[in-house]
Symmetry: C2
Subunit: 132 residues, 2 copies
Amino acid sequence: MNAPALTKNQALVFEVLERADGPLSAYTILDKLRDHGFRAPLQVYRALEKLLEYGVVHRLESINAFVACAHPEQNCHSHGIVAFAICESCGHVLEFHDHEVDHRLMNWTRGKKFKAEKTTIEIRGLCEACAA
Amino acid sequence: MNAPALTKNQALVFEVLERADGPLSAYTILDKLRDHGFRAPLQVYRALEKLLEYGVVHRLESINAFVACAHPEQNCHSHGIVAFAICESCGHVLEFHDHEVDHRLMNWTRGKKFKAEKTTIEIRGLCEACAA
DNA sequence: ATCGCACACGTTATAGCATAACGCAATTGA
DNA sequence: TCAATTGCGTTATGCTATAACGTGTGCGAT
């Protein structure tokens, strides 16, 4: 899915996520956009829904938060599975792709005749700076 | 962490999860245990916290639900990373372990000097029966 | 024995995350 | 022009999780 021009709300939400130096919850985004007229959670969730669809934003399931894609230039959906390392201290997120991991998981699901739609890989821990 | 004898509440929660044929939310567990005197979410969450610690229950982050471990006989924590395939139609969960996947992820985090604490791999899709 | 501690438990209240349902406005294309 | 689609705003609600307080029980150390 390629990203068409963003609507006003989508652009606002995306900018907030891009400027943030870590993942944000939907309600945090809402608070940051109150000055721009945002009043209700749905305004955020609806924008996020589209941004996720376009592949320019990721949802971190394990912490109920959202983060801008690390390489906005390319469509992230074409990279296969995305894995995240999330620092539980400072909140920073590392993003990476590994085709071998994809293969192993896909081989397994294929063997089980399971039709995979969406895969989540999230590693929580401490980043280099925080582990010191 | 090996499982000591379970307390009454822990045993009740664990039995509910074992009998269920799929993951359950904390509040669903609560409802199933009202007849046994459960009145508040914390009674469930506190039991779950211990069961997770003992490795006999898994939390599925992507659907906010809990499931009994598929091989209760062995300590699941000793198997390395656990991956789940979750059917979005019938709710059934397949559980598996792959040391090669573990390796790839650990190599990557080591390269980034990231200290991994807890890793989540969840594949949502359709199981064999539901995909037909 | 009893004091102190750790732990499980119960209760009330609250915080945090997400969506349902309604209606309106703008756009598009048959 | 009409119908369908999409985005938007609002109110209300539901689901998920934890804070904070107090009680009781078992058990080891003094």
